[in-house]
């Protein structure tokens, strides 16, 4: 509750600042100024996703599939009231799709990107990630697998590239829904190793009955100027709490040892007789 109030106050304070920003038409969130593609809340459908543009204005969103014919590899979905209803092009085309919103002006390009998992077996996203899709890109190396996710206290690698070429020494900023902010720099291969902060608040005393793993939004962003153009790119997704939060290794080991103790009498029995087959 206290956090909600803090976010509300922060929103009131940040509001006037964002109102003066160039992108005042697009809604923003309190925890970042970066452009985002956020999933709409409410009932989720298996083959369809509703994504909301935040801090960025564009007429349509591009969805890149991991496989399929050229006409389905990249599809455009019109934004209506800042929201796009995207879908997978075909069954068996692959799980992860890359979603991009691009806002261009004569001297700048702003990109919001995210990945959407459609539970749609097929090609892996290796080629999808390896293929350049816009100017300045933040590319996960790799994306979390099914049943996996980014989690606090974990390190994940992200490639930053411009026009398909890795950017060395490029600064990458991580911001999370819980207010953490940290920076990382890409190495000689253009890859930054990002440490997700341990910033989840303690779980509420009364557990919510709903399902779905607890998670929060994060955004990685990077800026680069070249050839008179200013590029800004952002990649947002969700991360979860440390898997061992609320868990006890000690109790786990104790239960395991109890099982071993229960099985120990089996080892004390007399040896079996030799079977006279030889």
């Amino acid at each position: 509750m206290r956090r909600t109030i803090l976010f509300f106050i922060a929103g009131l304070l940040v509001g006037p600042v964002t109102a003066q920003h160039d992108h005042s038409a697009a809604p923003t969130v309190a925890w970042t100024q970066q452009p985002l593609l956020l999933p709409e809340t409410g009932r989720r459908e298996r083959d369809v996703a509703r994504l909301r543009a935040v801090g960025i204005s564009a007429p349509s969103v591009s969805v890149h599939a991991p496989a399929g014919d050229p006409e389905v590899r990249q599809r455009e979905f019109t934004l209506s009231d800042g929201t796009a209803r995207i879908s997978s092009a075909a069954p068996q085309i692959g799980n992860y799709h890359w979603v991009v919103l691009r806002e261009a002006s004569p001297d700048s390009v702003r990109i919001a990107s995210t990945a959407w998992y459609f539970s749609n077996p097929g090609a892996s996203p290796e080629v999808l990630l390896a293929t350049p899709k816009h100017e300045l890109e933040i590319v996960p190396q790799p994306l979390p697998r099914e049943h996996g996710q980014y989690r606090e206290s974990e390190k994940w690698r992200f490639l930053v590239r411009l026009h398909g070429q890795p950017l060395v020494g490029q600064r990458l900023t991580l911001e999370t829904e819980f207010g953490s902010r940290s920076q990382f720099v890409t190495d000689a291969s253009g890859v930054a190793t990002v440490l997700f902060p341990r910033d989840f608040p303690p779980p509420p005393t009364e557990q919510a009955g709903g399902h779905g793993r607890q998670s929060a939004a994060f955004v990685l962003s990077s800026e680069h100027a070249e050839g008179g153009q200013q590029y800004l790119t952002a990649f947002n997704l969700r991360y979860g709490p440390d898997a061992e939060r609320g868990r006890s290794l000690g109790w786990g080991a104790a239960f395991g040892l109890a099982g071993m103790l229960a099985a120990a009498p089996l080892l004390r029995r007399r040896q079996s007789r030799e079977v006279p087959h030889a």
């Binding site: 892996s124 399902h211 868990r247 099982g259 071993m260 040896q271």
Partner: protein
Amino acid sequence: MRKVIFPTLARFRLTVQLLMLVVTVYGSVFVGTYMADKLSNALPALSCAYDQMNGGYCVLIPTQHILHHRIGEAMVRAQQLTLTMVLPLLMSFAVFFAFFFVLGKAFCGWICPLGTLQELLGRVGRRFGIGLRRVAPGDLGPVQRVRPVKWLILLGLVFLLPLLTGLGVTPHALGNPYCDVCPARIATTLLTGSTEQLAVAVDDKVKLVLGGTANFLFGFIILAALAIRQPFCRICPLLAFNSLAQRLSPMRLVKTRHENCGTCRICTDACPMDIPEISQADGRKAYNEDCTLCGRCAEYCPQDGTIKLKWGPLSLFASSRAYYKQKIAAELPDGTVKPLKFVRSPAKAAPGDA
């Protein structure tokens, strides 16, 4: 050359098991992060989805998830069951069967990582002379008492509880109860160096009970496997799941009647699942629901062509007296290795046993 590398069926099977242990536990290291998504999430073996390095997932995961998230919840929303709700479940079963068609229940005896681990522990037990516990020859009682357990686990933990959770009858923590008690989850993740699954959730009573049960089972099996062959396989719901389709796969065990059947019982001694029917019955009854198609009964049958592993009309392996003699010279039917033995000498028969 083939006979030099794989002198026996057992050596060939061990090689396949170790290779598949690597694929199912560490597969992504060799063939890419996303291999699990590509290989399948409906494998007929306990390849755990909680292992983030593995090469494929067990069919029990999508079965529980679909019953919980799709069918149960959709029934609540729509008050009716439509094909689109059931279709993913049918797809999972179809993919499962596509794999199962090729190898049948050999997934249990040749591919399953937990089966391999138990078998390796059993070998350690035999090497160190730990007494083997098994049912008395010809005694169907203990085996038949245990057999329904795997069906009850399949019905209750894989089908019923996830569906009831989706319907809102049982708490969300019972959404995938079998995975929560599965010892393969702990074993395979520990093999990747992660203690995440060994830690039990203490912030939820239901999760604590399920996690505690899994860890207790894991501890029990690790030690029990030294003295009992394949202890978990006897209650494994995936063995029951595979049994449902065992007659539909061309891969099968075939046994014909021989005059010595029911008296020599070497095949039952060799069977890691202690299946009495393999020595007492023939035809369909000999290929029992507990069979994992490991082929040990065929290896140790001293009669030519009495027990066969077949794929359709092809005979992959057939028992023979010559092979039996070669096999028995190195290893007894119960797995005791000759002559090398660590720690203790072989047990002597008790006075009253003569």
